[in-house]
Symmetry: C2
Subunit: 451 residues, 2 copies
C-alpha cells in the first residue's frame, strides 16, 4: 500500500469521537451468566459516535436475508447514523416478523439509552440461524454495555472479540493519513471463519453481475473521522468491498448475514469530501483518492485476515486469472478454481496438481482453450513465476521446485487464459480435515448452525 | 422399476454376442509387470460384439476434454461400432496431438487384432491427467487381452475391475425383459469415485441448458442384444443419462473424461426398434417404452452405485426440489444444496441443519422466497415426510426425530419452494474427512491426479 498510510492502534476507537465496549450476555444460552463476563467470550458490543455520522453499508445478496440486514439496508438509505449494536451467537435469520421486531427493539433500546433517534442505530447479528434471539439476555447485555462505552484501546479489543463466532483470532486494524493537512483515521473490526464467500451489494438486491451459486457470515464495522458526504462514503465503500470482501472465499457458501457498515463522523475537520469526487465508474484523485486507498487498505487487510483464519485453513492462495475474454469470464474462472473441492484438497496436500486446475477451468462458465492455458506459481505478489503449464503443455520445471512453491503457507496461483485482456483475482483457502470435522459438528450445537 | 425386468448375472456379457476380458499392463508404471497380472489390479479391458452394432455415446461437456473423448465423439456420429478399449491409471487428457495419436493407435491395434474397421473401435481412459500413455505397456496389454476375450461371467468381473480407479467396489448390472416375445438383455459396467458431477451431451458440446460451474471421471459401458436403430439408441441413451449420471454429484467437479457408450448388436432378434419411436421430446410406448425403462434402470442403478462408492462417502442423499418456478430453477436449487460444503458436512454429522439448506437455496440462481420454503426428510422414495420447516418457520417436529431421519445411511431431503410446478432431483453424498485425506494425497501420487 501507499507509504502515506501509518498503522495506528485501537481499530474502531482510533478515529476521534468513537466509543465502544463488549460484554457477555449469554446469547447462545450457555446458562452461565447474564450481562456479566465470567470467563466467557463476549457476545454483544455497541459502537457509537459522539456526533451524527455519514453511514454506508454493503449487504449479502442471499435471497434468504436476516432481520438485521433488512433493517440496515432500509436505514442506510437515509445516509446518517450514529451507533451500531452487534451480537454473536444468534444470526436472527429466518425468524420472521418476530425477528424484525427483535432487531428493531435492539436498536430502539440502544437509541433510548444513548438519547439518539432510532433510525440512527444499526444492527448486526451472526450465529445460529432460525432461533429467536433471547431478548431478555440481549436487553441485559445492552444495559450492561452502555455504561462501559469508552475510547480506551482495550474496549476495541472487547468489541472485536464480541463479534467472533468460530474465529480463532480477533481481527482489527487502524490507519492514519493526511487530507488537506489534517490527520484522518480509519479503523475497522471484522469476523469470518465459515460460510464465507460474500457477494454484497448496497441494497442487498442481487445485481446481474454478481457471481451466482457460489459464495459466508462475515461482519465488518468501519469507523472514520473523515468528513465525507454519505453518497461519497457509499461509493467508496462499494469499491473497497468489491476489491476485498467480495473477492474472498473460504467454503463457497454465501451467508444470510454478510454486512459491512461504515460510519464517518467528520471530526478530523478536513474539508468535506463531496459525493461527486467518488464517481461510480471512474477514478478518484487528490484527497478522494487518498481516502479511497486508505479504505481499500483497511478492507483488504481485514478480508485477508478472514481467509487466513477460515475454519481449518492452513494455506492462503491468491488465484490470479489474466487473459480472459471478459471480466465475468475472469471472475468465473477464478471462482471455479478457488471453490473446487479437488483443487482445494490438493493445496492442503501441497500438491502442484495442474490437472485439477485446468479441469476446473474447463467446467467454469469462462471460455477456455486447452492449447492456450498457462498455469504457474509465484510468491505472493511476486512477478517471478514458476510455470508448470505453458500453452496447455507441461513445462520442464522440476516437480521438486513446483512442490516447494505450493508448500508455502501463502502463494499466488497464476493462470493465463491467453484469450483476451480481462483479469480477476480471488483470495482463497485450502480444504482440510479440520474444516469437515468442525462443520459436521456436534449435532444440535448452535455453533454449527452458521449465519 | 417395472416388474417385467429380471436381474441376470454377467453384466456386459449377459446380452448375446458380447465378449470381454481384463488384464494388468502397469499403465500407472508401478513397474511390477507387463501384460501380466501378478496380484495387481487390472487396468485394461476390451469389450467386443460378435457382429457390428448400433452405437451411442454421451460425453463430458468440460471444455478441457480428453483425447479418447474427442475420438469417440467423432466416431459415434457414424452410428456403428463393434468394440471398446478402456484403460485406467492414465486419463490421456491434456496430452495434445500425441494423445490423440495414442488414442487412435489403441483403437487401431484392437481393430487390427480383431479384424475390424478402425472406426468401429471406441476408446475410454481414466486416471492421471497430463501424462502421456505408456504406449509400450498399452500395446502389450492389448496383445495380452485379445486372446482372453470370452463370454464367461468371470470376464465381466475382470472388465469391471479394469476400469476402476479410486473405486472400492466393481459396479455391474444386467437385466432381462421381453420385446415382442423375444428375451432382450441390457448389461453395464461403470466406475466413478471422485471428480464426479457429470454433465454430458451427445457431442461433448455444452448446451445452454446444462448446469455450468459445477460438476467427476465416470465411465460407463453398456451392451445390449436389442435390435434398435442408432438414432433411436442415441435418443434413448440421452434420456437415460439425463435421468441418472447427469443427476449425480460427489464433489461438484466435472471431469475431462466422462463417457457413456452403448452398443446394441441386435442378436436378440426382436423386430428392430426404429428411431421415430424415440422422439427427442415425447413419450415412448410399447416396445420402445420397455427398452427405455430397462435402459433407465440400468443407468440409474449404476449412477447410484457411483454416489454410494464416492470417495469417503458415508451417506446417500436424494435432494428433491419441488414447486420451483422453472425446471432450471429446480435444478439450480437442488445443485446448490447438493454441492454446499456446509450442507454436505452437516449430513456427515447427521445434523438436520435446515439453516444451511435454506442459506444455500438463497444464494442459488433459483428464485426463493423465505416465507414459502418447506424443508423435510423422508425415507428414500417414501411419501411420509417429516417436515422441519414449513413456510419458512420451524415446525414442532422433535429434534430427536429429525436427527433420526438424517442418521440414516440413505434418506431423501425434501424441499418445496411453493412458487411454481417445476421439480428436480440430485443424487448427492456427504463430505467427509476421508474425502479430504484421500484427495490431499501423497504429493506426486498418480492416483491423486483425477480425470
Amino acid at each position: 500500500m501507499k507509504s502515506k498510510l501509518t498503522a495506528v492502534p485501537g481499530s474502531i476507537v482510533a478515529p476521534r469521537g468513537f466509543r465502544t465496549a463488549g460484554v457477555f450476555c449469554d446469547i447462545k444460552r450457555l446458562g452461565t451468566g447474564k450481562g456479566s463476563n465470567k470467563g466467557q467470550k463476549r457476545d454483544l458490543t455497541v459502537i457509537v459516535s459522539e456526533t451524527p455520522a455519514a453511514v454506508a453499508g454493503m449487504f449479502t445478496t442471499n435471497q434468504i436475508c436476516a432481520a438485521p440486514v433488512r433493517l440496515c439496508a432500509r436505514r442506510v438509505r437515509h445516509g446518517l447514523g450514529q451507533a451500531i449494536i452487534v451480537n454473536s451467537g444468534n444470526a436472527n435469520a429466518c425468524t420472521g416478523p418476530q425477528g424484525l421486531q427483535d432487531a428493531s427493539e435492539m436498536a430502539a433500546r440502544v437509541a433510548g439509552r444513548l438519547g439518539l433517534p432510532e433510525r440512527a442505530v444499526f444492527v448486526g447479528s451472526t450465529g445460529r440461524i432460525g432461533v429467536r434471539l433471547p431478548m431478555e439476555n440481549v436487553r441485559a447485555g445492552i444495559d450492561a454495555v452502555i455504561p462501559l462505552l469508552s475510547a480506551d484501546l482495550q474496549r476495541a479489543d472487547e468489541a472485536a472479540e464480541a463479534i467472533m463466532t468460530s474465529d480463532t483470532q480477533a481481527k482489527q486494524i487502524a490507519v492514519e493519513f493526511l487530507i488537506d493537512g489534517r490527520r484522518v483515521r480509519i479503523g475497522g473490526i471484522c469476523k469470518g471463519a465459515g460460510m464465507i464467500q460474500p457477494g454484497m451489494s448496497a441494497t442487498g438486491a442481487r445485481p446481474a453481475a454478481l457471481p451466482q451459486g457460489l459464495h459466508a457470515t462475515m461482519l465488518c464495522f468501519i469507523t472514520t473521522d473523515a468528513s465525507i458526504e454519505p453518497a461519497g462514503l457509499q461509493a467508496a465503500l462499494r469499491e473497497a468491498v468489491a476489491r476485498s470482501f467480495n473477492r474472498i472465499t473460504v467454503d463457497g457458501d454465501m451467508s444470510t448475514n454478510d454486512t459491512v457498515l461504515a460510519l464517518a463522523n467528520g471530526l478530523a475537520g478536513n474539508a468535506p469530501l463531496t459525493a461527486r469526487r467518488f464517481p461510480s465508474t471512474g477514478k478518484r484523485s487528490g484527497d478522494a483518492l487518498a481516502f479511497q486507498e486508505a479504505l481499500n487498505h483497511v478492507c483488504l487487510s481485514l478480508a485477508h485476515m478472514i481467509v487466513r483464519d477460515g475454519e481449518g485453513v492452513t494455506r492462503f492462495v491468491t488465484v490470479r486469472v489474466e487473459g480472459a475474454r471478459s471480466a465475468s469470464d475472469a471472475d468465473a474462472a477464478a471462482r471455479a478454481v478457488a471453490n473446487s473441492a479437488l483443487v482445494k484438497t490438493s493445496w492442503h496436500g501441497g500438491d502442484p496438481n495442474w490437472g485439477r486446475i485446468i479441469d476446473a477451468l474447463g467446467y467454469s462458465a469462462a471460455r477456455v482453450v486447452e492449447e492456450k492455458v498457462d498455469i504457474g506459481y509465484s510468491a505472493p505478489g511476486s512477478r517471478k513465476i514458476l510455470w508448470s503449464l505453458k500453452k496447455g503443455k507441461p513445462t520442464a520445471a522440476s516437480f521438486r521446485e513446483l512442490c516447494a512453491s505450493v508448500a508455502s503457507k501463502a502463494f499466488d496461483l497464476r493462470i493465463r487464459l491467453n484469450l483476451g485482456r480481462a483479469a480477476a483475482l480471488i483470495y482463497a483457502a485450502d480444504l482440510t480435515e479440520e474444516y469437515v470435522e468442525f462443520n459436521k459438528g456436534d449435532v444440535g450445537d448452535p455453533a454449527s448452525m452458521g449465519g
